[in-house]
Symmetry: C2
Subunit: 542 residues, 2 copies
């Protein structure tokens, strides 16, 4: 484009252009609210002054050991103060934080450590049992640091060269960060829990982390000084970027090693928790708490959930229990949530079935995400916004990953045509709200017709005896595939396969109804996602 007077002598300089990074949020909180409570963990209390000093000491200790720009620091930590410190201290050095899923097996962890070329590994003693063989199997030989959390009394040996507290003590609080020099620099690395093949390493950059951190504050309408309970694992998409968001508004992190009902209620009551996030399993845990476990809440607590849209009944029960639930959607590749079911005030007046239908939609782009579309991946054309034309949900904007580490092919595929291909199938409603119909690989093709497994699941969820359900394809000689339903029944309720199939026939086209129903516990990942690939194996034998 031709240049003009506005392009002349008006270049970037340090006064008017600084790299976007979430690191400034902690620095600001420590300057503005140094005495505000930043971290609670058991009896431990840390102010923003202390939190910032510890993050700087960690950074300094890492730098003294030679860690710098582009190095990987892998951590195997629960939702603890150390995990929060790593979210700031590691990127302050220019290094990249790789949070490991605490429920993976040694082989996958060894793969990740090698792929990431981990130079330092910080391990919570609880997870040393799996980390020891992982480190033995890995080709890399990182510095191993033990984190021995006083709140963890269970078994587990120390396997490292030194203790986390000693390591932090090596550092100086005068550490002055020089990174990121560029907002496009990597800040973190999150491996997808690949259901087939090796996991892919999703790289986040400082720009996106900063924008999503502020995006959480704006989209979730978080005021000043929220109190945030850590029910979402921080190893999952960097806790949806909330370790950085909370600093934006100088809030309090309430740490939590385990999602147990009594502990959650105790902490909510003791600290006046205002916000928490989690998979549907966290809602179930809260709702299934006994009267003895429950504590009165100070006010309405905001609950942000992702994964499957919560059924009506759960939303109603949550409301009665004092929680306002907002449904978010995103993928590891989009920094966690980047889509929100942005609720219209007047929808509250709707009849309950219409209300439930609107609540079940994934929604619209976050403030911060530029584009969200349902496209035909072959032509990259938008599909009609009619609520029925099913296509691939695609994202575009600054809160989409930098790409997959050392995997150009997967990166190019994911970004083909200038949009991020989510692999999720959905529809666009006439009002611009997206609703997921299935994962691309979860769609069932029967007699040439597409069947959304979610549609079948929705029908079964309405049956009074059904507690949980997952529907997958079962190979079929005649039809190619047919739907197979795996069902958990409510305690004290009964239903036969025939009952459930008949129930579906009253509600769905016949070809969409399951041919097989299996009563079993449904396998889930550590983050509460149903493992459909395991169910597909089970369906072959059903």
């Amino acid at each position: 484009m031709a240049s003009n007077a506005y392009d002349t002598d008006l270049a970037r300089n340090p006064a008017n252009h600084q790299p976007l990074t979430p690191l400034v949020f902690l620095e600001r909180a420590a300057r503005v609210h140094p005495d505000h409570l930043a971290v609670v963990h058991g009896p431990l209390r840390r102010t923003y002054r202390d939190f910032h000093i510890r993050a700087k000491k960690l950074a300094s200790a890492l730098a003294k050991r030679g860690i710098g720009r582009g190095d990987t620091v892998s951590v195997m930590l629960a939702n603890t103060p150390a995990m929060l410190e790593c979210h700031y201290g590691v990127p302050m050095t220019g290094a990249v934080l790789n949070t490991l899923n605490t429920r993976l097996d040694a082989a996958i962890i060894a793969f990740s450590l090698d792929h990431a070329e981990a130079r330092v590994v910080i391990v919570d003693r609880e997870f040393s049992r799996v980390m020891k063989p992982a480190l033995d199997a890995a080709k890399v030989k990182p510095l191993v640091v033990d984190y021995d959390d006083p709140e963890f009394a269970g078994p587990g040996e120390r396997i490292g060269a030194l203790d986390y507290e000693d390591f932090v003590a090596e550092g100086s609080e005068d550490f002055a960060r020089a990174h990121p020099g560029d907002e496009w620099d990597a800040i973190s690395l999150n491996y997808t829990s690949g259901t087939t093949g090796n996991p892919k390493g999703v790289v986040y950059h400082h720009r996106g982390a900063s924008l999503l951190a502020v995006g959480n504050v704006v989209n979730c309408a978080m005021g000043k000084h929220p109190v945030y309970l850590w029910t979402l694992p921080m190893f999952h998409c960097n806790g949806w970027c909330f370790p950085w968001s909370i600093s934006v508004v100088a809030g309090t992190h309430v740490c939590l090693r385990q999602v147990r009902a009594s502990l959650m209620y105790d902490l909510m009551a003791a600290h006046g928790v205002t916000h928490l996030c989690g998979a549907p399993i966290v809602m179930s845990t809260l709702l299934n708490a006994t009267d003895a476990e429950r504590k009165p809440l100070a006010g309405t607590v905001q609950f942000f959930t992702a994964a499957a849209p919560p059924p009506e009944s759960v939303l109603v029960a949550m409301k009665e229990a004092g929680f306002e639930v907002t449904h978010l959607y995103g993928l590891t590749e989009t920094y966690g949530p980047s889509v929100i079911n942005d609720w219209h005030r007047d929808w509250d007046a709707l009849a309950v079935d219409r209300w439930g239908a609107l609540k079940a939609r994934q929604g619209v782009p976050y403030v911060g995400l530029d584009g969200l579309a349902v496209k035909d991946p072959a032509t990259m054309e938008d599909l009609p916004a009619d609520g029925t034309a099913m296509g691939e949900v695609m994202f575009r904007g600054n809160v989409v990953m930098k790409g997959y580490l050392k995997n150009k092919r997967a990166t190019d595929e994911a970004f083909a045509g200038g949009w991020f291909h989510s692999g999720d199938l959905g529809v666009m409603h006439p009002d611009g709200y997206v609703q997921l119909k299935d994962r691309a690989k979860d769609i069932i093709i029967s007699g040439g017709e597409n069947i959304s497994s979610i549609e079948v699941e929705d029908a079964l969820y309405k049956h009074p005896a059904v507690a949980a359900v997952a529907v997958v394809a079962k190979p079929d000689e005649k039809w190619g595939e047919t739907p197979c339903a795996f069902v958990e029944l409510r305690e004290g309720r009964t239903a036969s396969p025939e009952d459930l199939i008949a129930w579906c026939r009253d509600r769905l086209a016949h070809f969409k109804c399951p041919r097989h129903v299996v009563f079993t516990e449904i396998p889930k990942t550590s983050t509460g996602k149903i493992q459909k690939y395991k169910l597909r194996e089970m369906a072959r034998e059903a």
Copy 2:
């Protein structure tokens, strides 16, 4: 810096990198809340759908007339729907919005039009009296478009080639913007009301406008769907970027041509206004309203003020009238506010004098501003944060202007040493809060000692008879300069010059006390700032 795996095959592409721009906020609001009320003006009501369509039509009409990247569109408009539309429609074409101060004279406007190389000028009929001679005097011959606001019944001829509504009607709502291609592209041009020499053209870019727009939402803790009353002129720093902020949270703009007490109360009551901004004069207008003019407010209204820190008495009166006042600080060069008196909860419990002293501080960086420091401009060293060492207040970050248009020397001076030099003198308190002591050019140097005019004003403000005061330097043969005070007395109160000088001597070092006191109406700019240069002229003769 050496490159590494995180730099390899992980480049920017349209899927993961889009230019930051506030234009996306209107697009999102129109998609997500199309039926929400966006604009109120007299009987006019426009939804976000309508607002977006009209902005696109304006953009399309401009583009059809050849307006594109780097062209300047100057507007002389009150706080009207057209002014809001220009904040989106003009930059959608890649052009730059130049909002003219409606109270300037023809000669300065002619200078600005020529300097900006204005290609289109949109003129509210009310301001044609000054715009006609300005356009006659200017060398540029832009397309002139009349805006004949139905809410304006006063005198003023049409002076343009066509009417704004006809112009908008030329455009198509199918306009698809291709700008900005780069977030560093200019979005607007604001001339400073230079007190000496020609005004300087402050250039804003899309990146900064986007970040400050979101910054307002975060720093002012604005929830979803605020109702915003336009008491701050939109020609002033683009209304502190609130024309863009309100779209972030899908709020309602309540337009206002004139700051009159009865109208403000009527609109606040009728529309449930939640937020407004303005100079101290707006607070006085609200507080001096008669009982007949006042209307009950639905809830506490958030009031953001800049310029001089509000005196204790005003804050207390505002609180009683139902307003919560937050004190912001910034300059045209920092997109309006970029510093906030971020209030600590526990300060509310302090004794009233300590409370007032804390309220009088300008404060800490906005979330969005990276650096705020008090430096010695000669050495660029930070001064001690002791609340007394006076230095120049300096800014650094993404919400600092691109620079001054066609004025490399002034740009280089302003950014010397990698910080924006504000020209304001202040101190850094030990807790990191900045307090202004004076404009560099307002400092009084008496017998080689610096006297802060603000310090003398603060002492006089505490006198019960003083309604308003401004202190400037008066040339003095012996001392070089001495303080001269201009005072407005409260209605029904009296005080002699000697009384006030004695009052000061009880409170200040003697060399700081005014030698002369003049009772007069204090001249102010259109934005409510005291015109000290005029007072300095008057002081020479006092």
